[in-house]
């Protein structure tokens, strides 16, 4: 055991005892700990195995950039893989497991790959598993995927809830360190609406981690005063545990608030996480800076971590990384580390400063100037370090600092690239204008006083600035320190993907010197931490290897998300039944009473069939057809789109929308209409009725109802703005039922208040407004999709189920039956009526056998393009009927049609089956097909080839109308 809990200090509540397990072992921590700090305090430094070489790993950081200490958190449906131990707040009952090891974390067989590691260089997979090509998918990839990979996902549903929220503010402040707090305070005191968000569990940022003095008190005490003031202001929203993960168009920010991640289970009615969309007039990024590791041998060994992480563990969490420490770096911050550690009684063996000179105060610790740590020596824990000059120092931990990289990610999410500053050795954020400014150490302000002043200035751009408190500054100077080439062991750049310093010059030598290519070739920066720690080091090494400057190499693209976001946060509450709304028709209750089986059609629940005892869907649908054709049936057709069109120019407007003419339609009559797209292809069909001179009611197919409405609005507003017409969707206002069959008229007659139904009063294609059942206003249409003498009856939605029940009662003496979409579909195929299978976005009016409907006398959408050669070619596939030569055979939808003796090929393809049904009237399978030059080829025998299902039968092409060709039943 090397790490341990300090006797005093830290922002932890030692009166609490939080029990938790890691790989089954029970430990105890305190309120205020993270899982990482609690593990260190318990002497657990081995926290995981690395991705490729399975090397033992511990924490490198104390924050969001952590690449190593990834654990599986929780169990069952709440299990979460790859969570950063540095960001997990400890709670009582926490269960965690290490990842990426077998059979155990301590003894891992995969670590043997390290012995063969000279083979596993960058590009190894590309080079080794190229041949034979066929091996990749079946052999190589599955093996590699099993050996590599991080944690495993739970296969159980997540029992927790997620929410989505929107917020607007004048100023969004991202980060709550000294800069962010000052920015928020400055804006808030000007009565701006302020949101202050921080990814950490507590506001305060670096002031929680460091020993600072502000305004005559400690940095921590100062934060408490500012947070209390902000918390008391009604115009301020404080969002701790909230990561701003992306900056998007229009100054919109995506954020994830971890509402309950610090609890064992969320409180009742509370979500686990809340996804925020924040519209900010102005934003100040005060995200701070990330300390860079130094590439030296064994810089991934448990016990090696960034200097600021080691300070943080000691200052904030009272956890020591080891009893004796070597501090190594090329900037002044290492001296502060040594002093802080010393103040906690942690022995610092030496400060190893790569620079020859420094003015910083070592406070009595030996300083080795111009020296370099070449290798950390040990295994699962550091035992000593070797310096480049051969010096050997025993120690249990190494604090390293290569410098500081401003956290500019968000500032680059909208495309701009950061700019290299050769003096500060940092990529500075690009200029994004007033609406998004970067302040403090995120803008490379290295002194505390500069951060406080910068925050105050950028928080309140207009109006009077607030007073900036006095503070103690730590001088800062830095020299480049990227890679100690005297190292013997592996020097890691990207810890999570196991990319080493040597991989980058190799990539350059092999031609992948462009930063984006080098990234992909070495996988540097491609892990879940997105290269937060290692990318700048990688750029520096690549620059040196190729003789370019940092600017010339440049950074890879910064993309959202700043840190990984759970699927739950994106999904929000829209899962299961809430995934999409359910639309029920006004006749839903009635259909349910009748035992309907429902089918989802888009959002709609449509009654599909009405089975009786022992019937399957086919038996039920067949009975429904026989009953309807034999006597009478009733079907819910409320899902058809219904659009009420009124105005002086209503007829003219419809003439523009449809390829046929509606302005000539007589009042009280209905007409079938065909709507084209502007490219001449059929878009939709339906009947439109004229109820008055200036009043029509259109119907659309169920599927296209919303799209047709939008198209009408476009046609009217953008194409023909001078037409005097208004229209509104009334789909949900009217319940509509088809009543079909030879007994439909006597059935409906019983409901009529005054109307005496005859062929004269209600002729074929009549559309009348009538009164039924003692005063209910209704619309009666004599329309038929089934081919029977039939009607459609529409009533205001609220009357729907009641009227349907009344129709059932009226038809009882005739043996009325409800029928569903399946029976409807069988009857339409028997009658050769086109539907979705034929109106499939490839067919013209001519293809559907409706070429004669297309008017040549008026302008309408699609008119010109429909005349193109390719769309009028007689060899186009046209709708035909198809029936098996042997009536016992079955044909299937989707099967292709071939001439009798042809072999299946694209060239020989003659068309395909668009819809089939078992016809109870004809006692065989019949179908519709699209068939080349089809109308001229009725009577031809073809092969129906179904390669997918391995099925081939012979069939005859025929008229689409399989049943009652003379339409006698329609007019009976």
């Amino acid at each position: 055991m090397t790490s341990y809990r300090l006797d005093k200090g830290g922002l932890i509540d030692r009166s609490t005892a939080l029990r938790f397990t890691f790989d089954g072992a029970l430990h105890v921590g305190h309120q205020g700990d993270t899982l990482a700090s609690a593990l260190l305090a318990n002497g657990v430094t081995l926290m995981g195995r690395s991705f490729k070489y399975h090397r033992p790993r511990s924490v490198i950081t104390a924050g969001a950039a952590e690449p190593n200490a990834l654990v599986e958190l929780r169990e069952g449906g709440r299990k979460e893989a790859n969570t950063r131990a540095t960001m997990i707040e400890l709670y009582d009952g926490l269960v965690s497991k290490s990842q990426n090891n077998w059979p155990s974390l301590d003894f891992d067989v995969g670590a043997l790959t390290s012995l063969a590691s000279s083979v596993f260089v960058a590009g190894f997979y590309y080079k080794t598993f190229m041949w034979p090509k066929s091996f990749w998918e079946k052999i190589y990839e599955p093996i590699i995927r099993r050996a590599a990979g991080l944690g495993t996902a739970s296969k159980l549903p997540d029992p927790d809830k997620y929410e989505k929220s929107y917020a607007h503010c004048d100023v969004l402040v991202i980060g709550s360190g000294p800069t962010g707090l000052m920015a928020a305070l400055a804006a808030a005191r000007q009565a701006k609406r302020v949101i202050l968000a921080d990814e950490s569990s507590r506001l305060g940022g670096s002031l929680l981690n460091e020993q600072e003095e502000i305004g005559g008190t400690s940095g921590y005490e100062w934060t408490q005063g500012v947070i209390a003031e902000l918390g008391s202001m009604p115009n301020v929203t404080l969002l701790p545990r909230t990561t701003i993960m992306g900056w998007f168009d229009g100054n919109i920010f995506g954020a994830v608030e971890r509402v309950s991640d610090h609890l064992r289970v969320p409180d009742p009615y509370e979500p686990r996480q809340r996804y925020w969309k924040i519209h900010a007039k102005r934003a100040v990024l005060a995200a701070g800076a990330e300390e860079r590791p130094v590439a030296f041998g064994g810089n991934d060994m448990p016990g090696v971590m960034t200097a600021s992480a080691m300070r943080t563990y000691a200052n904030r969490y009272a956890a020591a990384a080891g009893r004796s420490v070597v501090v190594f770096g090329g900037n002044d911050s290492i001296y502060r580390t040594a002093r802080d550690l010393k103040s906690h009684g942690i022995h610092v063996e030496a400060i190893v400063d790569s620079r020859k000179e420094s003015k910083a105060d070592a406070a009595g610790t030996p300083v080795l100037r111009g020296a370099l740590v070449a290798d950390a020596v040990g295994g699962k824990a550091v035992k000593s370090v070797h310096l480049a000059d051969g010096t050997h120092i025993n120690c249990e931990a190494v604090a390293m600092s290569g410098g500081f990289s401003p956290i500019v990610n968000l500032a680059c999410h909208r495309g701009k690239k950061p700019v290299w500053d050769a003096k500060l050795l940092a990529f500075l954020p690009p200029d994004n204008g007033e609406a998004f400014t970067v302040a403090g150490s995120a803008a490379s302000r290295m002194l505390l006083s500069e951060c406080l002043a910068d925050g105050a200035a950028k928080g309140a751009v207009d109006g009077k600035p607030i007073t900036v408190p006095k503070c103690r500054d730590e001088a800062f100077a830095i020299s480049p320190l990227w890679w100690v080439k005297e190292s013997h062991g592996k020097a890691f750049i990207d810890y999570q993907n196991d990319a080493t310093a040597k991989d980058l010059p190799l990539a350059a030598r092999e031609g992948y010197s462009d930063v984006e290519l080098a990234k992909r070739y070495t996988t540097t920066g491609m892990a879940t931490d997105q290269g937060k720690l290692g990318n700048i080091n990688a750029i520096a090494i690549l620059a040196e290897a190729t003789g370019r400057t940092m600017d010339e190499v440049g950074t890879t693209t910064f993309r959202p998300f700043y840190t990984p976001v759970s699927f739950g946060a994106f999904t929000g509450p829209f899962t299961g039944h809430h995934f999409q709304p359910v639309r029920k028709t006004p006749l839903h209750d009635w259909a349910e009473e009748q035992g309907a089986v429902f089918v989802e059609t888009g959002l709609w629940m449509r009654s599909s069939w009405f089975p009786r005892e022992g019937e399957d869907w086919l038996a039920s649908a067949s009975r429904e057809v026989l009953n309807t054709r034999g006597a009478v049936g009733i079907c819910d057709v409320s899902t058809l789109g219904k659009i009420d069109v009124q105005g002086k120019d209503a007829g003219q407007f419809l003439d523009r929308l449809y390829c046929n003419t509606f302005s000539t339609l007589a009042v009280g009559k209905a007409r079938y209409g065909l709507m084209l797209r502007e490219d001449g292809i059929v878009y939709d069909d339906g009947t439109t009725s004229r109820l008055a001179e200036d009043h029509y009611v259109m119907t659309t197919t169920t599927a296209n109802a919303a799209k047709v409405m939008a198209q009408m609005e476009f046609a009217h507003q953008a194409l023909f703005p001078d037409l005097d017409v208004t229209y509104v969707s009334v789909t949900e206002q009217w319940a509509q039922m088809a009543v079909a069959g030879p007994k439909s008229r006597p059935t409906l007659q019983k409901l009529m208040d005054e109307l005496v139904m005859t062929d004269e009063s209600v002729p074929y294609m009549a559309a009348l407004e009538v009164s039924i059942m003692g005063g209910i206003p209704a619309r009666l249409f004599r329309l038929s999709f089934s081919g029977e003498h039939a009607y459609e009856l529409a009533v205001p939605a609220d009357y729907g189920s009641m009227v349907a029940r009344a129709v059932m009662q009226a038809g009882d003496e005739f043996g009325i039956t409800p029928y569903g979409v399946e029976a409807l579909s069988i009857m339409r195929i028997e009658k050769g009526h086109v539907a979705g299978g034929e109106l499939n976005g490839t067919t013209t009016a001519g293809d559907l056998g409706m070429g004669k409907m297309v008017s040549a006398k008026k302008d309408f959408i699609g008119r010109m393009m429909a005349q193109r050669e390719g769309l009028t070619d007689p060899n186009r596939q046209a709708v035909v009927g198809i029936r098996p030569v042997n009536p016992a055979d079955r044909i299937r939808a989707g099967a292709h049609l071939l001439k009798q003796d042809d072999t299946p090929s694209m060239k020989n393809d003659q068309g395909y089956v668009t819809g089939v049904a078992w016809s109870p009237m004809l006692d065989m399978w019949v179908g519709l097909a699209l068939f080349a030059n089809g109308r001229a080829r009725h009577g031809e025998i073809v092969q129906v080839w179904d390669g997918l299902r391995g099925h081939r039968v012979m069939a005859e092409i025929c008229d689409p109308m399989h049943f009652d060709k003379e339409n006698k039943r329609l007019h009976a």
Binding site: D679, A710, E713
Partner: protein
């Protein structure tokens, strides 16, 4: 992204459905000799870098068709007018 709907005020882009470039004008004749113009209207679109005027349907709001002007490169939105006014203005110019 926020769209300034002339009827509803500034609304989030999720409420809108975009159709594309509003520059092409639907020919007013059905004369076969104008087929080329029709072909261009139906199929040919520029893909400008920079300023563009686009049809947008406020499908989740007032259901007006608008013409939104924005920058394809920066995604800056400059304004929006009813498509009706846009078409009429185009007609007046022609």
């Amino acid at each position: 992204m926020l769209i300034p709907c002339p009827h509803c005020g500034t609304r989030p882009v999720e409420e809108f459905t975009f159709l594309g470039d509003a520059a092409p004008t639907r020919p007013t004749t059905n004369d076969p000799s104008t087929m080329e113009a029709w072909y261009e209207y139906v199929y040919l679109r520029n893909n400008p870098r920079g300023a563009i005027e686009e049809y947008a349907h406020h499908s989740g709001g007032c259901r007006s068709w608008l013409v939104v002007s924005r920058n394809t490169e920066t995604h800056e939105v400059f304004g929006a007018v009813p498509a009706r006014d846009f078409t009429r203005a185009k007609g007046a110019k022609a």
